[in-house]
Every structure is written in structure tokens, then in C-alpha cells.
């Protein structure tokens, strides 16, 4: 008798618990939380935690046994190579982004001029550099820049221009690295600007034409203000990606000649992985954070603004 009541009691409790669970599962916030849980875990464990772990690593000595505080940073500040890397990263990122933005803008206009039916074909061809994995296309550039069999030098030689040391000389190597980056990144700008150009209402141009605006004034007073937001987002985004670039420099020059093309990512790899000084490598890559953070804040502001406009 006692047994039975106890059992039924237990069953009731179990069902109550189960319905409680079911209710919880039916609650919107609970479902939403469960749906986002994998995402939250991924971001916390594999992005946020490593980011802080990197700060921790940067304060250790080479065998990672002792806390040295800012020792790694002090060491870096005393090294000429570090300042060379800082300078080169800035030159690389800024000039590459400027040229990508300019070429992208110009090409987008040309594509926009072409009759709508043919635009697809041109757009398709011009986006190819962005589609090929950069590691693969940089190999093609490396071969085009080959010291003894360079196809570019062969072509230039036909015009009597002497062999150019594309990757052998410090200044030329910097130029080559930037050139390949522009080649790879300009199509992205082109596509973004083309989408923005298409969203500018035709009436604005008609109104400007009636007011007697010339071609340049139309661009300056109509196109640019209308595209300002997308230009800002694309440029900042590209600044982040270019500043953190690894593939192109690594494959094309591996930082050489004599560290004259190293940027933060490649030097961090050289020091941290190849030189197995993980703390120093972590410190080097941490120097990217301020610039990335500033760019990210501005992007976020612009993207939110854009969201509010729409």
C-alpha cells in the first residue's frame, strides 16, 4: 500500500518535472538561448579566450615559465626590425587600400557605363582575382616575378626596359607585394561600389544635369555623397584585412629581402612559429589590435547607421 502511493507519487513528480522541462523548452527565451548556444560557445572558446590568452602569452618569457610583464614589448621596442615591420605594415596597408579603393571606384564606373546586358560578363571577368584562393594566385605572381624566367621582364625586355628585380630589391619587393594585394582586393571594392552606384537614383543625376553640373561635379556632389557610407565601410573593412594580411607576403617574399617586406602577421609567424618564441610572436601580433580596434569601431558605427537608414 505504502509502496503504491510512493510509486504513484514518484510518477506524478516525474511527470511534473517533465512538463516543467517541456514548458521551459517551449519558452521563447529558452529556445532562443539553446539555438544560440553553439555560437556563443564557439565565440567564447575559440575567439574571445584565445584573444585574452594571447595577452597572457605576451607577458611570459621564451620557454613560457616565467612572468616577465612588459619584457617582450621592451625587447621589441629596442629592435630595429620591429620598427621596420611597423613602418612596412603601415605603408603596405595604407597604399594598398588607397589603390584598391581608387581602382575599384574607377572600374565600377566603367562597368556602370556599359549597357546593362553586358555588365554581367565584365563583372564576372573582373571579379576573378577575388575568387581564386590568394595562396594559389600569389604562386602565379611569384612565377611571373621569377628572377630568371620572369614573363614580365621578357615583355619589358621587348621594349628595351632592363630586367626588374621584382622580389630581389627591397623597394621593388615592397612594390610587388602591394601590387599583388591591389590585384587581389580591387575587385571587392569594384563590386561594392557597383552595388552602391546602382542604388543612386537616376533623378539625382538628371537634376544635376539640369542645374548644369559637369561630369566631375556629378561625381563630387551626387555620387560620392550618396556612396559615402559604403565607401567608408568597404575601406575600413579592407584596411583590417590588408593590415592583417599574411598569405601574399608570406608566399611572395616570405618577408625578404632582409626583412624589408615583413608585416605584422608574417613577422609574428616567423618569430612565433618558425622561431618557436611563442610569447614574442604573440606580442608582435598584439600590435595589430589598436588599428584593428579603431577600424572596427568605425565600421560598426557606419553599419548601424546604414541599418537605421534602410
Amino acid at each position: 500500500m505504502v509502496d503504491v502511493t510512493l510509486q504513484s507519487n514518484r510518477v506524478a513528480q516525474a511527470t511534473r518535472r517533465r512538463t516543467g522541462l517541456r514548458n521551459a523548452l517551449r519558452r521563447k527565451s529558452m529556445v532562443a538561448f539553446l539555438m544560440t548556444l553553439p555560437l556563443i560557445l564557439l565565440v567564447l572558446l575559440l575567439v574571445v579566450y584565445p584573444a585574452f590568452y594571447s595577452v597572457h602569452l605576451a607577458t611570459l618569457n621564451k620557454p613560457m615559465t616565467k612572468f616577465v610583464g612588459f619584457g617582450n614589448f621592451e625587447f621589441l621596442f629596442r629592435r630595429d626590425t620591429f620598427w621596420l615591420v611597423v613602418k612596412q605594415s603601415c605603408i603596405f596597408a595604407i597604399s594598398a587600400v588607397v589603390f584598391k579603393a581608387l581602382i575599384g571606384f574607377i572600374v565600377a564606373h566603367f562597368v556602370h557605363n556599359v549597357p546593362a546586358k553586358k555588365q554581367r560578363k565584365w563583372r564576372g571577368m573582373l571579379l576573378v582575382p577575388w575568387v581564386i584562393p590568394p595562396a594559389m594566385s600569389t604562386l602565379a605572381w611569384l612565377w611571373l616575378f621569377d628572377p630568371s624566367y620572369s614573363a614580365f621582364n621578357y615583355t619589358l625586355g621587348l621594349f628595351g626596359i632592363g630586367p626588374i628585380p621584382w622580389t630581389g630589391d627591397a623597394m621593388w619587393a615592397r612594390f610587388s607585394v602591394i601590387l599583388v594585394n591591389v590585384w587581389y582586393g580591387a575587385p571587392f571594392f569594384m563590386i561594392m561600389y557597383l552595388a552602391a552606384l546602382k542604388s543612386v537614383p537616376e533623378q539625382l543625376y538628371e537634376a544635376a544635369a539640369i542645374d548644369g553640373a559637369n561630369w566631375w561635379q556629378k561625381i563630387w556632389y551626387v555620387t560620392l555623397p550618396m556612396m559615402r557610407n559604403i565607401i567608408a565601410i568597404t575601406t575600413l573593412f579592407s584596411l583590417i584585412v590588408t593590415f592583417a594580411n599574411f598569405d601574399i607576403v608570406r608566399i611572395l617574399t616570405a618577408g625578404g629581402p632582409l626583412d624589408h617586406t615583413h608585416i605584422f602577421a608574417t613577422w609574428a609567424f616567423r618569430v612565433g612559429i618558425e622561431g618557436s618564441d611563442i610569447p614574442l610572436g604573440a606580442s608582435v601580433s598584439l600590435f595589430m589590435v589598436p588599428i584593428l580596434a579603431i577600424a572596427a569601431i568605425f565600421i560598426l558605427r557606419d553599419v548601424t547607421k546604414r541599418g537605421n537608414e534602410a
Binding site: 544560440t36 555560437l39 565565440v43 575559440l46 566603367f110 594559389m136 602565379a140 604573440a282 577600424a295
Partner: protein
């Protein structure tokens, strides 16, 4: 009657637009001229890959015109496609990419649905956080991640470094934030009435997602899938850091570390390998260009 009116307005219009259309015609000619120049600039490296891949080693080292193939041969392709090592790289790449795409979709689609439709405590912050995560580059995280997985190996005895499947843990950090972000955008653009109707009809949240949102936002889903695939296929830094044994390498790293032996560059094979490595993204792009571009431009719009 109607023909008369057209005839009447015809000449005046023609005169009016005469100078305009001449300007247009010139602008068009210049546009084509520069577009051809830029197209050449864009296509020279991939075309040169193709040219070189059809040459024999003897022809490559001969001092002939490098832009022309005098004795086309498929020997480079045959050699690579019958080499177990190269096929291994290809399969590693394919497996990593396919599994990563699956993981990415399984994580980001429900998350995007929850963030777009089920407002809960902290959902706006989380959406912003996802976007910020997308902006964190791989070159910032490779050192701490490498150390992290080394430490995990020491603690638990599960050796993940130098195994191709370690990439399955790492690539989602690149693909999931972006895919979630653009899926939020696509889901948010779906009219609210649609899911309200589904809820009224007694559909659960899960059913609303699978029966309404996924079919309606399919173009976005395809764009996100393409993005995840191309990112995983092209990733170079993480596999370079995490894998070293030749049987664990993915294609980009495999080509660079095995085909370049010291100072000896077998360019015919390198270019063939590079072209074969570039082929899957290019083929996807050729057939699904509109989705590809939609995914590309969606990143800059708020969800």
C-alpha cells in the same frame, strides 16, 4: 495617326539628343578600352597559370616566348592527378571544407534565426558581438590557438596538432560569424506576418525555422554556404601553422611545401597544382555568380 505623331517627335528628339548620344558613345568607347585593360590585368595571372601548366619542364626553361605554348602537353596534369600525395591534399581540402560548411550551417542558421526573430535578453549585444568577431583576423589568433591546442594535447593526451581534423575546430571561427551575420540580415527581411501565421497554425519555433525561414531565405543560405566553402578552401595560415606531415596537409599548403623543394621550383607542376586548387571556387563562382556576389555585398548591410 500614331505613326504621324512619332514621325513628328522623332527628328526633334534626335536633334536634342544628338550631342548627348555622341558623348555617350565616346564615354562607352573609353569605358570599353579601360575595361579591356583592367580585364587583362585581372586575368593575366590565372591565364599564365594555364599557359605554364601546359608546358613541359624543358619548354619552361627554354628561352622562348613565355606567353605562348609551343608544345602543349598534359603531362603535368597526369602527373599530379596520379600522384597519391596530391590527391591526398585534394581530399583533405575537400573533406575539411565540406565538414566545415556543414558545421557552420548547423551553428549559424539557428543562431541567426534566434537573433533575428526571438528578441531575448542580450540578443542585440550578441548580434553586434558576432559582427565584431567577424572582423578579428586569423593572423591575430593563430599563435594563441596553436598554443591552446598544444596545451590541450599535453593535458588530455588528445593530440590535435598536426592532424587535419584540428582545422574543423578552427575554421568555424572564420566562417560562422560572417554566415550568422548575413543570415540575420536575410531572416530579418522576411515579413513578420509569415512566421506569425505559422505560430498561429501551431508550428513550433523549430518548424517555423525549417518550414518557413529556410525555404524563404534559401538564396541567403546558398550565399552563406558558398562563402563558408571558399573561405575554408582558401585558408592558408591555419593549416600552415597546425599541420606539418605531408599526409595531413590541405591543398594550398601542400602545393607550397611539397612542390617547392629547396631552391628547385618545378613551375609546371606548381602552376598545375595552383590551377587545380583554384578550380573548385572558380567553378562554383562560374555557376552561382549571383549568389556569390549577393553574399559579398551582404556583409556590409546590417541584419
Amino acid at each position: 495617326m500614331s505613326t504621324v505623331t512619332i514621325d513628328k517627335s522623332g527628328p526633334t528628339r534626335k536633334v536634342k539628343y544628338g550631342s548627348m548620344s555622341r558623348d555617350r558613345a565616346w564615354a562607352l568607347r573609353w569605358s570599353y578600352f579601360f575595361l579591356v585593360l583592367f580585364a587583362i590585368f585581372s586575368l593575366v595571372p590565372p591565364l599564365y597559370m594555364l599557359i605554364t601548366s601546359l608546358k613541359s619542364s624543358a619548354e619552361i626553361s627554354a628561352a622562348t616566348n613565355p606567353w605562348w605554348v609551343y608544345h602543349p602537353t598534359l603531362s603535368n596534369y597526369v602527373e599530379l592527378l596520379t600522384s597519391n600525395q596530391f590527391l591526398r591534399f585534394f581530399w583533405n581540402s575537400a573533406w575539411v571544407s565540406i565538414i566545415v560548411v556543414t558545421i557552420t550551417m548547423l551553428i549559424s542558421v539557428p543562431a541567426a534565426f534566434a537573433l533575428a526573430r526571438m528578441k531575448f535578453w542580450g540578443s542585440a549585444t550578441l548580434a553586434t558581438g558576432v559582427f565584431l568577431t567577424y572582423l578579428i583576423p586569423d593572423s591575430l589568433l593563430f599563435i594563441p590557438l596553436f598554443k591552446m591546442f598544444a596545451v590541450i594535447g599535453d593535458w588530455t593526451g588528445i593530440q590535435l596538432i598536426n592532424r587535419w581534423y584540428v582545422l574543423l575546430f578552427i575554421y568555424p571561427t572564420l566562417t560562422v560569424p560572417f554566415c550568422t551575420w548575413i543570415m540575420i540580415g536575410y531572416f530579418a527581411s522576411i515579413p513578420k506576418e509569415l512566421d506569425e501565421a505559422a505560430i498561429i497554425d501551431g508550428a513550433s519555433w523549430f518548424q517555423t525555422l525549417t518550414r518557413i525561414f529556410i525555404p524563404v531565405a534559401l538564396p541567403g543560405l546558398i550565399a552563406a554556404t558558398i562563402f563558408a566553402f571558399t573561405v575554408s578552401w582558401a585558408q592558408f595560415l591555419y593549416p600552415l601553422v597546425f599541420t606539418t606531415s605531408t599526409d595531413q596537409l590541405v591543398l594550398p599548403v601542400g602545393i607550397i611545401t611539397t612542390l617547392i623543394k629547396g631552391d628547385v621550383f618545378n613551375w609546371g607542376q606548381i602552376m598545375t597544382g595552383a590551377l587545380l586548387g583554384a578550380a573548385p571556387p572558380l567553378i562554383i563562382y562560374a555557376f552561382l555568380m549571383d549568389y556569390y556576389i549577393a553574399g559579398l555585398t551582404a556583409g556590409a548591410t546590417k541584419g
